[in-house]
Structures are given as structure tokens and as C-alpha cells.
């Protein structure tokens, strides 16, 4: 049995993408989805050494906020036990931002620069050192690279005839991306309502077998492409490990 897969992008950006995959089984699609959420490791701050914190927040509150800041995680550069040190030193009156974090490694930087960490008043100061570690979303949500990752069955919409003239008209809602005459159409274009796209027509909506429209967003620690590739690698390496274990 050979696999005949087909991927087509509907929307494509660094941090957000929609793409259609044809030919995969529901089990495989779900495996990819779950891996993107829970099994692709990213770097995040996990331990802080506070030198001075005279802000209105406790050390552990600051540590939690720093942990949630996404850090860029280049592929295949880091191993499980690697530690990247970052530091921050801001004196009030000022606001400490995620962009004020100074990383010891050029490849590892805060993905967003304007996340307020803590507002400092006159005479207050935040100075600390933090260790970022590589972990998976399974261990803590701050390591979750994929945000709102999901898929929908692709639906095909066909006009089957004219609508009953005297029937009360009701909206016919579909969501996501649908296939109309072989074209992929975002349902937002017609307000998710098929009666607006085909007024006075009767339409039939069917699921297209083995076709899934993935919606993938990342927190900025990597691009969507990298996330998908690393999820695929993760499943493959586990299958290989199983094969080796069984082949003895």
C-alpha cells in the first residue's frame, strides 16, 4: 500500500496557516494535531535567580510571567538538558518588557518584544537571571508551541436544485473551508451562510473522505512549517523506535 498524500495551503503565514491535507486517515491527522500541541519541545524560562525585586509583584509571579513569554527555538540546535541563560535588569520608573530580556544565546530571543512583565515605580527595580529549558507542552503549557491547532473535515457543497418557493428560509451555516466546484472557499466570504452564496437554491453538503483542513497557529517560538515538520519527525522517530524494539 503506498500513500498518496496531497497538501494545499489556503492561508499561509509564519505564525498562522490553513492547509488542506488529502489522503490521510483520521487517526493520522489526529496524531499530527496532538503532537503539534503536546510533543514538540520549545524553550521557556523555568527557573529564575532573583537578585533584586522591589516591584509590587512577588518573585514567583514574575517567574510565571517570564515563563509564559515565548522564546525562539531554532530546530535541531538544542537537546533536552540544555540550558539557556537570560537576564533582565530594569530600574523604575519604567515598565519591564519581554524585549528587555538579554539572552546569552543569539538564536534564543523573546518572540514578542512588547509583553509587559511588570510596571516599576520610582525606586523599584527588577534584576534577575533566568534559565530557559527545552520541554514539551505535555510538561507545562508554556512549552506548547502550537496554539489553537485543529482540523475540520473538508466539506463539499453542491447545488442540487431550486429551493421550495414557499418554504420559510432558514440560514444554512457552514464553517471553515469548503469545496465548491473544486475550489477551496473560506466560508467567511459569504458570512458562513450558504443561503447567501446560493440564494434560492437547494444545496447538499457532504464530508470529503480523508480530507482535512488544518488550522495551525504558533506562539512565535517557531514557524508553522517548522512546527508541522517537527511533529512529523516526532511521530516518525517513535515508530522507528518501536520498529527497532520489536526487531530484536
Amino acid at each position: 500500500m503506498d500513500e498518496d498524500y496531497e497538501v494545499e495551503f489556503v492561508e499561509r503565514g509564519d505564525r498562522k496557516a490553513l492547509f488542506l491535507v488529502r489522503g490521510v486517515t483520521p487517526a493520522f491527522a489526529n496524531g499530527i494535531r496532538r503532537t503539534m500541541i503536546a510533543d514538540v519541545p520549545t524553550l521557556a524560562i523555568d527557573e529564575v535567580r532573583v537578585i533584586e525585586n522591589s516591584s509590587v509583584m512577588f518573585d514567583e509571579q514574575i517567574a510565571l510571567r517570564l515563563g509564559l513569554v515565548p522564546l525562539t527555538t531554532p530546530p535541531a540546535e538544542f537537546d533536552e538538558d540544555d540550558v539557556v541563560t537570560l537576564s533582565i535588569d530594569v530600574a523604575g520608573p519604567a515598565t519591564a518588557y519581554s524585549g528587555d530580556l538579554v539572552s546569552a544565546d543569539d538564536m534564543v530571543q523573546p518572540a514578542d518584544q512588547n509583553v509587559p512583565i511588570i510596571e516599576l515605580k520610582d525606586g523599584q527595580r527588577l534584576e534577575l537571571e533566568a534559565d530557559a529549558v527545552l520541554e514539551t507542552g505535555k510538561a507545562h503549557a508554556k512549552h506548547q508551541g502550537g496554539v489553537s491547532v485543529g482540523y475540520r473535515h473538508l466539506q463539499r457543497v453542491e447545488v442540487v436544485g431550486d429551493a421550495d418557493e414557499f418554504e420559510e428560509s432558514e440560514p444554512n451555516i457552514v464553517r471553515g473551508v469548503v469545496e465548491i466546484d473544486g475550489e477551496l472557499v473560506d466560508t467567511a466570504e459569504f458570512d458562513n451562510d450558504l443561503t447567501q452564496k446560493f440564494p434560492g437554491k437547494e444545496v447538499a453538503v457532504h464530508d470529503v473522505e480523508k480530507a482535512f483542513v488544518f488550522h495551525v497557529e504558533t506562539d512565535g517560538s517557531m514557524t508553522v512549517e517548522e512546527l508541522v515538520n517537527r511533529a512529523t519527525d516526532s511521530i516518525e522517530s517513535r515508530a522507528l523506535e518501536l520498529e527497532d524494539a520489536v526487531s530484536l
Binding site: 513569554v69 515565548p70 514578542d112 509583553v115 509587559p116 511588570i118 510596571e119 515605580k121 506548547q144 489553537s148
Partner: protein, 64 residues
């Protein structure tokens, strides 16, 4: 106190947009709905994070 870094529900980073949102809607007079659309905060779980937030640092700082 301070704006949450991420959306509680989906994990999207919303703290990034707080200062612009605050400047345009609380201090300016733009429509929050339009500002959120422009900022790319699409989901209602993320939108409520910004809409319902209030900075409290100024209020608690005298009691340090």
C-alpha cells in the same frame, strides 16, 4: 494587576497587544472591536483577556 501574558483558554500571547489596545481604546476613543480586529486578536477567548483587564499597579503600589 498586570495584563496576562497569554490567553487563559488558548495560550495565544495577548500581552503583546495590551499597551497599544490601552492607548487606543482607554486613553483614545477608538472602538475596541475595530482595534482588536486590527491587532489580529481574533478569538473571543483572547479578546475578553484585553477587554476585561484593568491595570492595578497604581492602586496597590502605595501599600508596599
Amino acid at each position: 494587576m498586570m495584563v496576562p501574558v497569554r490567553c487563559f483558554t488558548c495560550g495565544n500571547v495577548v500581552g503583546e497587544h495590551w499597551e497599544e489596545f490601552k492607548a487606543r481604546t482607554r486613553e483614545g476613543d477608538e472602538d475596541p472591536e475595530e482595534v482588536l480586529d486590527e491587532l489580529g486578536v481574533d478569538r473571543y477567548c483572547c479578546r475578553r483577556m484585553l477587554v476585561s483587564h484593568k491595570d492595578l499597579v497604581d492602586i496597590v503600589s502605595p501599600y508596599q
